[in-house]
């Protein structure tokens, strides 16, 4: 599967399902407006560029790990549901945080990493059912935990990202 095909498949599924559990006219209206805003963001400014870069990076890494044992050490292929969750997560990340480096984990989950400098790094892996495993090094402190990704970023993840970017440790 090419990166372009992956982008189409995952991107459309992701736009259609994000945060919307409602079927009412109002819910559809809200969803349409969100999609319009999202498209405008994509068209505009550097904000859209960096998001687009992340989307294409995700397609690229998913395409590169599209077979079992892609690392020669028995890794599982990139999990298609995890990729969809990763698209959803990318869209939810606050634009004030810089773009993460994306990669595929040996268990097929997708990892998002923000590396600032030695001992200043935070990483999240997202699995097929939205499970978020995170870990970070913040100077002499560290943190790790598991959360579930619903419609918005769980607070511990936001707190750790704020901690990383504001250097409050």
């Amino acid at each position: 599967m090419t990166a372009a095909q992956l982008a189409m498949d995952y991107y459309e599924g992701f736009l259609g399902t994000h945060t919307d559990r409602g079927v009412s006219k109002e819910a559809k209206e809200i969803r349409n407006r969100l999609e319009d805003v999202h498209k405008e963001i994509l068209k505009s400014l550097s904000l859209g560029e960096s998001y687009k870069d992340s989307l294409s990076a995700l397609c690229e890494i998913a395409g590169q790990a599209d077979v079992s044992n892609w690392d020669g050490y028995g890794a599982e292929q990139a999990n298609s549901l995890a990729i969809q969750q990763a698209f959803r997560l990318l869209r939810t990340l606050p634009a004030t945080f810089r773009s993460p480096e994306l990669s595929v984990d040996p268990d097929g989950e997708i990892s998002f990493e923000w590396y600032m400098e030695p001992r200043r790094v935070f990483s999240i892996s997202i699995g097929p059912h939205g499970e978020l495993s995170y870990a970070g090094l913040f100077g002499r402190s560290d943190a790790h935990g598991t959360e579930y990704f619903g419609d918005e970023l769980p607070k511990p993840i936001v707190d750790n990202l704020n901690r990383l970017f504001s250097r409050r440790y």
């Binding site: 590169q64 790990a65 268990d107 990483s123 495993s133 870990a135 090094l137 790790h144 598991t146």
Partner: protein
Amino acid sequence: MNFLNRLWTTLIGYFRAGISPKNSLGVLLSRFLTHKNQFSATRVKPNAFLPRDLKLSVFLTDGLAGDQIWILGEKYVKLNIYGRAEIAYVAVSEIGLKVELDNKPQRHANITGWPAQKSEQKLYALKLAEKSSLLLRSKQIEGSY
């Protein structure tokens, strides 16, 4: 008895790999990097150190010259090798993980002692990545000319 068996296997392993047990703390381990996912331009990414089935495959590369290490990797790792992450045995030990030398193939070892929870594995992987050095194969080849 199990302890004695493990000790004996370890000692035999070091002997076969040509490494003195008393110097094992200074031993260098290499994790061969077989995918662009596993490194960036300047550093090893933590996911290069995430285990499969609670084991992380490494080679003891102490005492080998750069070329010999690449040959070792080519011989036993069946994919294109982009580089390697080099880490000291002592760094692995300090983090709280173990190195079990099995010499299958020769100089091969597994980093073991991993927790079952993924977030904790990620934390260990972050620490291993911090302590490791990235050696890219292309740079070494360019440097040798």
